[in-house]
């Protein structure tokens, strides 16, 4: 069983602590959602795992071998992020060709098929593509390299609704037919909520949740009703957050819901986006 282990990784930039004692494991054949607000440390983490940045402390290993500066181990990983690191004058077609050189399992037919579906102009230079199409290009490469661990940093940045829908469908189809590990870092939580199996929530450089989506949502619920009743109810419960609208209150609670609820209170399932907003509210 292949796995990537991130052990006690910390990273500081000037006066900001970007990552603080991060411990994570990425198993094979799983889709992970890496969720966090802007500046929480998602991109830094992905860059460190993929040998773009160096941690101040801690290690990153793949099956026990360090990933840092290790071409053999790194060959099992691919990171697609905002930075266009391809040469100035390289065309999409040429980039595909070189990707096949560097990643022997790169599926050229699949890449061309996806380019056709997304209407990506393969003869154009990468730098001259729009933001959306640059994302599409990166996503196509990421889906075609066929490595065990694929890291996608904001894969749908700049994509219109049609292309976003198409991307998720293609990702799922590929995952269903040839399982691999995808780590998706995104702001669009609602869209990925049904795709991801494991949720990692990062807040100000620290991991605050790292569990399966199922357990995360099962261990939380939302209770709403008249303010006074809610106030008395929450006194004995773990509250993550509260929303108030006049005399009505909604409280987000961790734990398994009580089978007997006081009259007048309504219970509903927590959804991932609501949970995320409450967890990452920096006022708390």
């Amino acid at each position: 069983m292949s796995r990537i282990e991130v052990n006690d990784v910390s990273k500081a930039f000037k006066n900001t602590q970007a990552l603080s004692h991060v411990n994570l494991q990425f198993e094979e054949h799983t889709i992970y959602g890496l969720l966090g607000r802007n500046g929480a440390g998602k991109s830094t983490l992905l860059n460190i795992i993929n040998n773009r940045l160096f941690p101040d402390s801690g290690t990153i290993t793949l099956d026990g071998c360090s990933l840092m500066e290790n071409s053999t181990a790194l060959a099992s990983c691919f990171l697609a992020n905002e930075n266009n690191l391809y040469p100035e004058s390289m065309t999409v077609k040429s980039a595909f060709k070189w990707s096949r050189e560097f990643y022997p399992d790169f599926d050229m037919d699949y890449a061309n098929e996806l380019s056709r579906l997304f209407e990506l102009p393969v003869k154009k230079k990468i730098k001259s593509l729009s933001t959306g199409y640059q994302s599409i290009f990166r996503d196509i490469v990421a889906l075609s390299v066929n490595v065990p661990f694929v890291f996608l940093d904001e894969p749908v940045l700049g994509l219109d609704a049609y292309h976003r829908d198409l991307f998720y469908k293609i990702l799922i189809e590929k995952y269903a037919e040839h399982p691999f590990t995808a780590v998706i870092s995104t702001h669009l939580i609602e869209e990925v909520a049904n795709i991801i199996e494991q949720v990692i929530v990062i807040k100000k450089g620290e991991i605050i949740r790292n569990e399966s989506l199922e357990s995360l949502l099962e261990n939380g619920y939302c209770i709403s009703g008249p303010a006074s009743q809610i106030d008395s109810y929450i006194r004995s419960h773990d509250v993550i957050g509260i929303d108030t609208l006049g005399g009505l209150k909604s409280a987000y609670i961790t734990g398994i819901p009580d089978p007997d609820l006081p009259d007048g209170l309504e219970i509903s399932r927590m959804d991932l986006q609501k949970l995320f907003i409450q967890l990452t509210d920096t006022a708390r």
Partner: protein
């Protein structure tokens, strides 16, 4: 590392071909004109220096793009360094070869002095080690070639070091670096070194520096092989420095 080497070579061969093509064209045109019109004198010099500058420019120009391409495709910086070292030697060799071929053509077409015969022009040896000219021609050819190769290689490394430092610097210092480097390196430093301020504080400092330089390069003893040794040593040191700069470069 092989895959990266393939990429780097393919990229640089294109630049080299364009460069070689231009030089060739110039030489052949001038040679033909000089050959046909007896009373027209065209003199073509300095291909060697042109090649050296080409190496410097390529070193500066290729580093960032190639380094990024390497890291993007899961190649470690260590492997990138090894690949770049190979590429440096190969391209330097090709440039030195180009220089030799151009010299050959120039002689055939009478572009350079008639009393030098093919394979008998050891421009570096002639200029810096005149006392060694009495040695065996084969040894001189080899020595001349090696010296030229090492100089090209050294300039390539300088180019890489310049670009390497640029990539390693935080973004806000980069513009300052781009301005300061040529100004200080080519402008301020030489002036400073020979200024009265330095010569008065350290009398004979400059002449002592020059003496040391001439000694290690074998120029004062007319020994080109000492020069080769020193240049090789400097190359290795440069490679070490470049690697140290590369090792901690963050690609973002």
């Amino acid at each position: 590392m092989r895959k990266l080497l393939k990429f780097q070579l393919k990229d640089l061969i294109i630049s080299y071909s364009v460069f070689a093509g231009i030089i060739f064209l110039l030489t052949i045109c001038s040679g033909t004109i000089s050959f046909i019109y007896e009373d027209v004198n065209i003199s073509l010099n300095g291909t060697g220096i042109t090649c050296a500058i080409f190496c410097l420019a390529v070193g500066i120009g290729m580093y960032k793009e190639h380094c990024q391409m390497a890291v993007l495709n899961s190649i470690s910086r260590k492997d990138f360094f090894k690949s770049t070292a190979c590429v440096t030697v190969i391209i330097s060799f090709l440039c030195t070869l180009l220089d030799l071929v151009i010299l050959f053509i120039s002689q055939m077409t009478g572009l350079i002095s008639a009393d030098s015969t093919p394979l008998n022009t050891f421009s570096i040896i002639q200029t810096f080690y005149p006392g060694a000219m009495k040695s065996h021609p084969a040894a001189l050819t080899a020595a001349n070639f090696l010296l030229a190769l090492l100089i090209n290689e050294l300039l390539f490394s300088v180019g890489i070091l310049i670009a390497g430092i640029y990539c390693r610097l935080p973004k806000k210092f980069r513009t300052l670096y781009c301005i300061a480097l040529p100004v200080i390196g080519l402008g301020v430093s030489p002036v400073f070194l020979v200024s009265t301020a330095v010569t008065s504080v350290y009398p004979g400092f400059i002449s002592r520096l020059i003496d040391i330089f001439l000694a290690v390069m074998g120029i004062s003893s007319n020994n080109p092989f000492l020069g080769i040794l020193t240049l090789t040593a400097i190359s290795l040191v440069m490679a070490g420095i470049c690697y140290q700069v590369l090792r901690k470069t963050e690609i973002v």
